[in-house]
Amino acid sequence: MGDDLKTTALNDLHVGLGAKMVPFAGYSMPVQYPAGVLKEHQHTRASAGLFDVSHMGQVILRGPDVALALESLVPVSVAGLAENRQRYGFFTNDQGGIEDDLMIANRGDHLFVVVNAACKDADLAHMKSHLEPKGVSVEMIEGRALLALQGPKSEEALAKLNPAVSDMRFMDVATLTLVGVECWVSRSGYTGEDGYEISVPEEAAEELAKALLEDELVLPIGLGARDSLRLEAGLCLYGHDIDKDTSPVAAKLQWAIQKVRRAEGERAGGFPGAETILRELQDGATQARVGLRPEGRAPMREGVELFAESEGGEAIGRVTSGGFGPTVGGPVAMGYVPSDKSEPGTVLYGELRGKRQPVQVAALPFVKPGFKR
């Protein structure tokens, strides 16, 4: 492991818990703990799992009309986001592709956004260059860790530290005291389960993590299970399922583009690539992101080529994320196929070790979400 890897405020805790640490987006992060990926995954779905996501970028945007300013970079209704509410969005580029995906929270006098670790420097520069001229300050928050508590018992576990978390519903945000410090809490996550994400001052992060882990409901969960959980939940991983060349329409993320930003909406367009994206919203995209269920037991991982026929012909699509789905109990994947082959039930063939194996297009998500709406 290189010396230039950054560590999070929970590094000592991870090592002490026996985590296997791996480099990820410039950070040394726990990929699994001694329980292992399968048990960690299952525990999160059955009870609650604690994730360190401090490598992600936490950014505060402030200024007059900050919501409208941010709308110039995302095809999302930010101005329509009520105070103490959060929503999913993405930065688009001039070609109509996705530069990164992010969470946007309206915290009254400012916006709080969380971006992917691998993209955070680019995102910061992007926001500074476009938003500062509009009078918006862009501040990357240093000194705060980010924890995610995910799973059906998350509310029960977190309410022991502050009962007010029970009053929150999916995508609410609140400032709450946990272990004696001010935390920024949202009822959200990236596993398909109910849960919370908690921005906590670094000096209190370990105390908060330990307070949660003391509860037998909660186990520490590494990046390995985080990946299988989000895959089963049908959630995109930036750089894999979506990237600068993927349109949000092909990625089936049009639900995140509110009517008000679409053609004939009150604030239609006005984001990078609007022309392309608004046209695709009307005409449809040629490719579609789909769920895939390999018929055999062998996982089809990222990069597996998809064919329409069991023999001959050119590849028509590609797996962008895939592996074993512990809750599904078999292999699951996501990938891109031509739109006319995207109907659930369509049988395609994935080439594994030179052999074409049948795989069915399946509806996403693979598991029923547990959100408290």
């Binding site: 699994q32 292992g36 990926v37 037991r297 062998a298 996982p299 991982r301 074993f324 292999p331 070790r353």
Partner: protein, 119 residues
């Protein structure tokens, strides 16, 4: 038992050898979720890919340790790949093979040498 640098163990059982992966290898792989075994009767050469094993992390190939013929495979690990993590050096053997030359075993590591090898 004898060991290869590919982290396989070989145990002589009458005129065949039983082959599996070491506890060290199983630990490194993480939870095993898929195993594909060869057909009994397949003639194999040393270092030929004979088994595909997938963990939650990645796919790996298991190589034939020596020249010979596969005589039997352990189907239960195909049904329940998790056995490879539970008992890699016992119940979760992969296949049995008849070696072309039993003396080739002498070239492999013994347990002490394997322990040194994995540090």
């Amino acid at each position: 038992m004898k060991f290869t640098e590919e982290h396989e163990w070989l145990r002589v059982e009458g005129d065949v050898v039983v082959v599996g992966i070491t506890a060290h290898a199983a630990e490194q792989l993480g939870d095993v979720v898929f195993v594909e075994l060869p057909e009994p009767g397949t003639e194999v050469s040393a270092d030929e890919e004979v088994v595909v094993i997938e963990s939650v992390k990645a796919a790996s190939d298991i190589l034939a340790p020596l020249d010979g013929e596969i005589t039997e495979v352990n189907e239960p690990i195909v049904e329940d790949p998790g056995k490879v993590n539970e008992d890699p050096e016992g119940e979760a053997w992969f296949f049995k093979m008849k070696l072309e030359d039993m003396s080739a075993l002498d070239e492999l590591m013994d347990e002490a040498a394997y322990k040194d090898f994995i540090g």
